[in-house]
Each structure stands twice: as structure tokens, then as C-alpha cells.
Amino acid sequence: MLFVLDKSLSSEEGFADVKMYLTSPLAKFVIWGLLSALLYHLVAGVRHLVMDTGVGETLEGGKTGSKIVIAVSVVLIVLAGVWIW
């Protein structure tokens, strides 16, 4: 990721190269994978922050929390897929 940032900022050609690489299906798939993992991690992280405030710490609260996290993550991941493709 740092390598891509470095290349994209280096020059006009570098930026064009990065854009060209990003069109390949494999690159898109890798980025979609990374983004999905990050989105899930973000949503689950937010849930942890919520739980830090004491909300959703019971067994039932935990279960519903998990379901919400999975539902929200799936939606975001599908959206990310649409956006990338």
C-alpha cells in the first residue's frame, strides 16, 4: 500500500501506472479483499467501543451485537465490491 502511494505520488507517469495496474481483475480482487477485511474490522471495532460504554454486554446483547456487525459488514462489503467493479 505504501509502495502504491509512493508510486502514485512520484510523478504523472507513476500515477498513470498505478491507475493502469488497478484496472486488472486480480488487483481489484486483492483490493476488494483488503477493503472487506478492513470494513469488517472497523464495524467490529465500533461494536467494541460501544460495548466499552457498557451497552450490549449481556449474552443477548452480545448476540444481537454480533448479528448487527455481520449484517452491516456484509452490506458494506457488497457496496465496496460494486464500487470497485
Partner: protein
């Protein structure tokens, strides 16, 4: 108070806080970048380069990179102390765990230095 030599800080509570704070910084940075990309569909080099030449963006990016180092370190440390244990590996657990943490630490420092070079080396 239980203190452990290889953890990030003075106490577990300090780590706990550091991880939360770094997580919020990272979430803010990620959402900002995502928003920026969404609102600039066909991004030109000038826009992209322009964004990163603003000092506030450089500082924000560096802050995110530091937060990433902290967040990753506390996370990986937690994982390593949970799983790379004598129960799991046996005799060599401590050295394996120490090596694992050293590698993580070096990687994070290297990324940080690389990030500074990218942001200020344009």
C-alpha cells in the same frame, strides 16, 4: 499491578487506552480518505498530489501511520501472548514469541520511516 516487559507500556490499561485512541484516529483517517475518493471519481494526478502536499494532510497521514503502529503492536502483542504460549508450542514458546514481536516491531518502525520519506520526500 501486573507489568510485562514486552508489552507496549506501563500497564495493560495504558495499552487498552492506546488501542482505542489509535483505532479512532485510524477510523477517522480511513473514512476521510474513502470520502475523498468517493467525491473525486476521476481523480487526477494534480488533485492527488495536491492533497498530499498540504501540511495538514501530511501530518494527519503521519499521525495515522503512528496510530497504525501502536494499534498493530498492541493487537499483535495480544495475539502473540494469547497463542504463542508454552501450552501451544512448549519449550521454545518464549523465544518464538519474542522473535515474532521483534519482527512486528521492526516492520512497524520501517513502515513509519518509509511513510515519512514518502510524505516529505515528494
Amino acid at each position: 499491578m501486573v507489568t510485562n516487559v514486552t508489552n507496549f507500556s506501563r500497564s495493560g490499561l495504558y495499552d487498552w487506552m492506546a488501542q482505542r485512541v489509535s483505532a479512532v484516529v485510524l477510523a477517522a483517517y480511513f473514512l476521510f480518505l474513502l470520502g475523498y475518493l468517493l467525491f473525486h471519481p476521476n481523480l487526477s494526478y494534480a488533485d492527488w498530489h495536491g492533497l498530499f502536499s498540504h501540511n495538514w494532510m501530511r501530518i494527519f497521514s503521519l499521525l495515522a501511520l503512528v496510530a497504525l503502529g501502536v494499534h498493530a503492536w498492541v493487537g499483535m502483542w495480544t495475539i502473540s501472548t494469547d497463542y504463542l504460549t508454552a501450552m501451544a508450542i512448549g519449550k521454545w514458546a518464549t523465544s518464538v514469541r519474542f522473535l515474532f514481536q521483534a519482527v512486528c516491531g521492526i516492520a512497524m518502525f520501517a513502515y513509519f520511516v518509509w511513510g515519512v520519506q514518502i510524505l516529505w520526500g515528494i
